[in-house]
Symmetry: C2
Subunit: 492 residues, 2 copies
C-alpha cells in the first residue's frame, strides 16, 4: 500500500454513518453527524471503504437480518459511495454492554470519574455485563471478519470494541489491524478498579492489533505503562522510545506499535454549514438576544465535561466583576447524553441547580447570566461559534475535544479560547489559548476575566494562531498518518 | 552515629504521645494510643527523644503558653523519660489546615476518594486553607527548629507536615532530616487535582528532607514519578534504581534518598493488653454472645476503609450460603472518625444503612448477621482479635493497615486473614493470607466463603506464617532501618 494508492479499508465502529428508520411504512435513511463519523467521512471520498457497524435502531436490525451480515452499497451525506455491513448483536447483550460496561464503567475509569469509596462496586452484574460486552464484541468481529476478508486493513474504533482486534486475529484475519481509542487512556493505577481478569482480557483484546492509536503522546505513555504494570505475568517487552509492545502469546511473538494521531476536523466542510437556513435563522436570533460579551460552552451533559465547575466559575466571575453585570452572559448548549444512566441524570440535575443558583443570585428581569439550552442545538452551536467572545472548555478529561477546534474556524470576533489542560486539544492549541486547571474554579474565573479583558491585538493574534493551527492540522492528516503507518508495517 | 549508639533524636508530628486535660481544676495527662505513637514509643526507650507536637486540647495550649516553645521533661505510658515541646499554631489556622486541607483534601487525593466530576472543587477557600496549612507548618517548624538545635536528626511525620522539612532547612537547621509519610503516595495523575502551585510547594516542602520514607516500594516509585512529572521545570534528576532525587534550588544541589520502611507493631507490648481486666471482661462477654463463626472488622469510619463494600460482600456471602445462616456473624468495630467533615458523615450513614439492609434481609430474632459497634472499642477489639475465625481487611487504599498485623499475633483460633491488595500490609503478608480486590464484592464474598471453609491444617499453616512474619518484622526493625540510613548519610 503506498500513500497515493486508493486503499481497500474496513472501518469497524459501534455506530455507523447511517441509521435506518421506518416512517409511514417506508424505510428512510438518516445520515448522522457525530465527531467520529464526520472525521471518518474523509476516508470514504479517497478510499474504498467498507463500514462495519452495529445495528442499533429497530430498522437497522431489520436491514441486518435481510443482509445477513453481507455488505451492501450505500452513500454518505456527501453522496460518496461506500459499503455497509451491519452486525446484529443480541439486543440484551448490546444494551448491557453499552449501559453497564462501556458507559459508565469504562468511560468513568478512563475519565477519572469514580469516587473510590462508593463507586464502582464490582459485583455479579458487572461480570454478566462483561460477558455481554464480550459477546457483543464477538458479534461485530464475526461480521467484520466475514465481510472484510479482502481488505488491506481494518480500522477499529473506540472503547466499545476493545476486544475486537484479538477476536479478528483469532478468526484468521490476515489484514493489518489498527485500533483507535478516542477517549483518554489513564495510567495503570486508574485501571485497578477493574477485576484482574477483566482488565487483562481488555488489554489482550487491544494487543491483537498491529497499531494502537490514541490522540496524544500522554495517552501512549499511559498505555505502555499500563501494559508493563498489568501484564507482568506475560512475556512482554515495552520499548518506550519507539512506542511498541512486544508480546508473546501462544508461542507467537508479535510487535504492536503504539502511537498518537490527534484527530481533527474538516474546516471546509464545517464552513459549509454556515449556509444552512437554520444556521442563518439561529444567527439572526442570537444577534438580537445576545449580551454584549458572549461566553460559550458547547458540550454533552456528561460529568467529564465539567459543566458544574464551569457554571460556578462563571458565577465567581460575576462576583469578582460587578461592572460586567448585565453585559456578559454564558450560553451553555447541552446535548442530552446517556440519560438512562443514573450518574448522568444526577449530574444534569446538579448542573441545572447550579445554573439556577447563579441566575437567582446575580440575574434580574432584563439579564439572564447563564442561558442553559438542552437539546439538539447543532444549528445554534454553529451560529454561536461565529459570535462568541470567549469559548470555554474546562473538561475534567477529554480525549481530544473538537469544540475547541471547530469554534476558532467559524468565529468572527477574535474570540478567546479558554481550555482545560486535561484535553487532547490543549496539546496542540496551548500556545494560542488560555489554559486552565479543570478543578480550580477560582483560576477559571480569573482566566475568563482575563479573556474578556484582553486587548484586541492580543485577541486577534491568538485567534489567528488557532485558525492557522487547525487549518494546518486538519482531519486529513489524522487519516493519512494512520494509513502511512499501516503501509509501513511489514506484510502480514 | 553508629547503630549501637544512643542517638539524640527529635520526633515531629501533629499529635504527640501525651495530651493534657483539666479535670476538677487539676491538670491531668492522658497517654494516648494510636498506631504512630505506639510505633514511635520504641524510640523513647532506646534513644534520647525530644518530641515536638502541636498543642491540640485547650490544656495543651495552656502548657504551650507556659513553656513558650521550650522542651520540658515528661514520661511515656511505660515510664520512659522524654522531652516534649508543644507548638502553638493559630487555632483557626490549625482547624482549617486539619479539616479543609489535610482531611479531606490530601487524604482523599492519596487514597483515591474524589469523584472527579463534582469533587474536589478548588476555590478561594482552598487557597485560604492552604495558607493556613502553610502557617501551621511554619509554627511547628519554628518550635522544632528552636527546641531541636542540638539533635543529631529530626524525624518528621505524615501528611499534616509536608512543608516542615524545607521550612527547617531554610531556618538553618544543620541536623539530618527524615520525613515519613504514613499514607499511600499515588502516581502523578492523582495529584493533578491540586493546583500547580500547591502541589509544587508540597513536593518542594518534602524535598527539604535528606530521607523521605514510605511504607512500600510502590509508594517510593510513585513519589519518584510524581517528582519527575510535576517538577519538570526544576533541575531535577531521578535515579529510579537507587531511589533518589537530585535537586537544584537556589544554586544548591542536594540529593534526597527515597526509601521504603514498612511500619509494624510491637508484639510483646500488644500481648500485655490481654491482662487488662477490661479485655478479660470483653472476652467473656464475646464468648457468651459470639456466633459459631466470627468474621471481624476493626477500623475507623473512613471511606478508605471500604466498610460499605465489606458489608455488602458479607450480605452476598449469606446469599451464597444459606447453610451459614444463624451460624456466622460479622462484628464490625468502628472508631468514629472526623465526623466534622461532611464526606465522613455521609459515609457513616451509608454504611449503617447497608448493615440495616443486610440484617433485615437475612437476620431473625435470634441472629444478628452484622453487629456494628461505633465508639472506642479498644478492649473489645483486643478480645475479638483472640476469637476471630476470619479477619477481614478490604481497604480501598491503606498506607499499611496495622490491624492485619495485630490480629494474627493475638488470635487463638487459627483465624484466616482476608486482605485487600491495596494495603501496605499485603506486600508483607500475602503469602499467608487470602488477597482480595477491594472493588469486587463478589470476589470478596467468595474469599470469605473460602476462608470459612479452609481445612484446619491450612488455617494453622497460614496463621503460623502470619505470626512468624509479624514477629520477625516488628516495629524495632522499622525504626532501626531509618536510623541506620540516617547514620549512613554523609555528614551535613
Amino acid at each position: 500500500m503506498a500513500e497515493t494508492e486508493r486503499h481497500r479499508l474496513a472501518l469497524v465502529s459501534n455506530r455507523g454513518p447511517i441509521a435506518y428508520e421506518r416512517v409511514d411504512g417506508e424505510r428512510v435513511t438518516r445520515r448522522g453527524g457525530g465527531g467520529l463519523v464526520t472525521a471518518l467521512r474523509g476516508l470514504i471520498g479517497s478510499h474504498d471503504v467498507l463500514w462495519v457497524a452495529n445495528a442499533i435502531t429497530d430498522e437497522d436490525r431489520q436491514v441486518a437480518r435481510e443482509q445477513q451480515g453481507r455488505a451492501h452499497a450505500e452513500e454518505d451525506a456527501l453522496g460518496n459511495p461506500f459499503e455497509l455491513a451491519l452486525a446484529l448483536p443480541d439486543a440484551n447483550d448490546y444494551e448491557r454492554a453499552y449501559s453497564e460496561i462501556a458507559n459508565p464503567l469504562l468511560w468513568f475509569v478512563q475519565h477519572g470519574l469514580h469516587d473510590g469509596g462508593l463507586s464502582p462496586i464490582i459485583d455479579r452484574a458487572t461480570r454478566e455485563g462483561w460477558a455481554a460486552y464480550r459477546r457483543s464484541n464477538a458479534a461485530i468481529a464475526a461480521t467484520a471478519s466475514a465481510a472484510a476478508a479482502d481488505r488491506d486493513a481494518l480500522m477499529i474504533h473506540d472503547y466499545q470494541l476493545y476486544l475486537v482486534p484479538s477476536l479478528l486475529r483469532e478468526s484468521g484475519v490476515q489484514a493489518k489491524i489498527l485500533h483507535f481509542t478516542h477517549i483518554p487512556w489513564p495510567g495503570p493505577h486508574a485501571w485497578r478498579v477493574l477485576p484482574f481478569d477483566i482488565r487483562t482480557e481488555l488489554i489482550h483484546g487491544l494487543l491483537g492489533a498491529d497499531i494502537i492509536g490514541f490522540h496524544t503522546p500522554g495517552d501512549v505513555l499511559n498505555f505502555l505503562r499500563t501494559c508493563e504494570a498489568m501484564l507482568a505475568q506475560d512475556r512482554i517487552e515495552i520499548d518506550y522510545a519507539r512506542g511498541s509492545v512486544c508480546f508473546t502469546r501462544d508461542r507467537i511473538t508479535r510487535e504492536v506499535v503504539v502511537r498518537s494521531y490527534p484527530i481533527s476536523i474538516d474546516p471546509a466542510e464545517l464552513r459549509q454549514h454556515l449556509d444552512a437556513p437554520e444556521v442563518q435563522a439561529a444567527s439572526a436570533a442570537l444577534t438580537r438576544t445576545r449580551p454584549e460579551r458572549l461566553v460559550l460552552r458547547v458540550e454533552r451533559t456528561d460529568p467529564s465535561k465539567n459543566t458544574v465547575r464551569g457554571l460556578r466559575a462563571f458565577g465567581r466571575l460575576l462576583e469578582r466583576r460587578p461592572d460586567l453585570h448585565g453585559r456578559v452572559g454564558m450560553l451553555t448548549l447541552l446535548d442530552p447524553s446517556r440519560q438512562s444512566i443514573p450518574e448522568y441524570q444526577d449530574y444534569l440535575e446538579a448542573l441545572l441547580q447550579t445554573a439556577e443558583e447563579v441566575n437567582s443570585t446575580h440575574g434580574d428581569d432584563g439579564w439572564l447570566p447563564i442561558d442553559v439550552r438542552i437539546g439538539d442545538n447543532f444549528h445554534t452551536a454553529i451560529a454561536a461559534y461565529r459570535q462568541y467572545d470567549v469559548l470555554y472548555v474546562n473538561a475534567v478529561a477529554d480525549g481530544m475535544n473538537l469544540v475547541a477546534k471547530e469554534g476558532p474556524i467559524l468565529n468572527e470576533r477574535d474570540g478567546v479560547l479558554v481550555i482545560s489542560e486535561s484535553t487532547g486539544a490543549y496539546d496542540e492549541l496551548r500556545e494560542h489559548a488560555l489554559a486552565v486547571d479543570p478543578f480550580d474554579i477560582e483560576q477559571q474565573a480569573a482566566f475568563l476575566e482575563q479573556a474578556l479583558d484582553l486587548p484586541a491585538a492580543d485577541r486577534a493574534r491568538m485567534a489567528a494562531g488557532l485558525r492557522a493551527t487547525v487549518e494546518e492540522r486538519h482531519v486529513g492528516r489524522w487519516i493519512d498518518a494512520q494509513i502511512a503507518d499501516l503501509d509501513a508495517l511489514a506484510p502480514a
